[in-house]
């Protein structure tokens, strides 16, 4: 847990998840929520953490209204200030929020949020591959939907 030197006296090597966490720490409140979430998901127990967060929510909705309800529920638990400092429960809510948006997009292409599409796309691109199936595929499908709908200049 601590960054103590090991028995060999050598300094431990910085891993990619550690590096992400360090950059978020350096940036403080200026760190982007997606970067905070990515650092959490990339950490050693990150996959287990995201699986538990998403499993606790129950079976996936089969309608757009269901995804919207999930999105609204998650949004209620997101406090911007907590999110920017990487508070674990705010990050869990943000993960639920992002995956609810992904679920609706994958279902019928609905973008159930007013957040910029490119911002959502980045979230899906960065976080999606760090999740278990079926979320990995849902996020990939959602991203394809966004790409199909974006103007040619993008």
């Amino acid at each position: 847990m601590n960054m103590d030197r090991d028995g060999s006296g050598e300094f431990p090597t910085v891993t990619v998840p550690m590096a992400m966490q360090l950059i978020c720490a350096i940036l403080g409140e200026a760190a982007k929520p997606v970067d905070r979430l990515a650092a959490r998901c990339a950490a050693s127990a990150g996959l287990k953490w995201s699986r538990e967060v998403l499993d606790r929510r129950g079976p996936n909705p089969t309608t757009r209204a269901g995804w919207i309800a999930w999105k609204d529920l998650a949004k209620r638990d997101i406090r911007e200030s907590d999110l920017h400092i990487g508070d674990p429960s705010a990050l869990a809510a943000f993960l639920k929020y992002l995956t609810a948006i992904a679920g609706a997009l994958a279902l019928d292409g609905s973008l159930i949020t007013r957040i910029d599409r490119l911002e959502i796309r980045r979230g899906l691109t960065v976080i999606g591959p760090m999740l278990d199936e079926p979320w990995r595929e849902i996020c990939a499908k959602a991203r394809r939907r966004i790409d199909q709908g974006l103007p040619a200049s993008d």
Partner: protein
């Protein structure tokens, strides 16, 4: 090692000069050159070895990537003009060294095979794949962060404040709440947060100092850090 002065980020009142640290060292004669070379070798060895391996540069001359990079350092850094040439290049030091490694490998290959069979190393540079570039940038990001950590820890240890690093690490990397950390360190949660915040500032200053040594202007550091995060994402996923 970055000092507090060179790591700080004042708003420049005149156009900022790139690469101040290395140009200062080079103006100090042999002792400065040794310092500059030491910095280059400790900061860029691993990223260049990673790059050499990712691109397969070592296979064409049947060498070990680490030995090739060490050979590259030995031949280039012994020439006092080598780093001076970089100062006028407009490139980040890491990019300059990466290109230099290509030329070095080309020379080795030419020596092995003779002039007639040698390929143009500039063509090789042009054919560099994005994947190997990303691997190099990722290795550089990890190396820079590791160096920033080492500097910060060494600085804290010198002042008998190593425990403050542990507080920082427990919160930001291990994910413990300040209340838990505070109990372990017999202080209040607010004190733990305050100390962790101070350490984050020290790591930030150390990292910014390293980026400036690589050739970034203060105004470009935000973009450099964002680029570091992007290239780390690609690996994390």
């Amino acid at each position: 090692m970055a000092t507090a002065t060179e790591s700080s980020s004042p708003t420049p009142s005149f156009p900022e000069t790139r690469t101040l640290w290395i140009s200062d060292r080079l103006s100090e004669g042999e002792a400065g050159l040794i310092l500059a070379n030491g910095h280059v070798m400790s900061s860029y060895l691993q990223p260049l070895v990673t790059y050499c391996r990712a691109l397969g540069l070592h296979t064409s001359i049947r060498g070990d990537p680490q030995e090739i990079v060490q050979g590259f350092f030995a031949t280039r850094l012994s020439n006092t003009e080598y780093l001076k040439s970089w100062l006028g290049s407009g490139l980040r030091l890491r990019q300059w060294l990466r290109n230099g490694l290509h030329h070095f490998v080309h020379e080795l290959r030419r020596d092995d095979a003779g002039q007639a069979n040698a390929t143009d190393s500039l063509d090789e540079i042009a054919s560099t794949t994005k994947r190997s570039e990303d691997e190099f940038e990722r290795a550089w990001a990890l190396s820079a962060l590791e160096q920033a950590m080492k500097e910060t820890i060494a600085n804290l240890e010198r002042r008998g404040k190593r425990a403050e690093w542990d507080i920082f690490w427990m919160h930001h990397v291990d994910g413990h709440a300040y209340s838990v950390i505070a109990e372990r360190h017999q202080m209040t949660a607010a004190q733990a947060a305050q100390r962790s915040f101070a350490v984050a500032g020290q790591v930030r200053n150390a990292l910014y100092g390293i980026l400036r040594k690589d050739g970034a202007l203060t105004s470009e550091i935000g973009v450099e850090v964002a680029a570091m995060m992007e290239v780390l994402h690609e690996h994390g996923s």
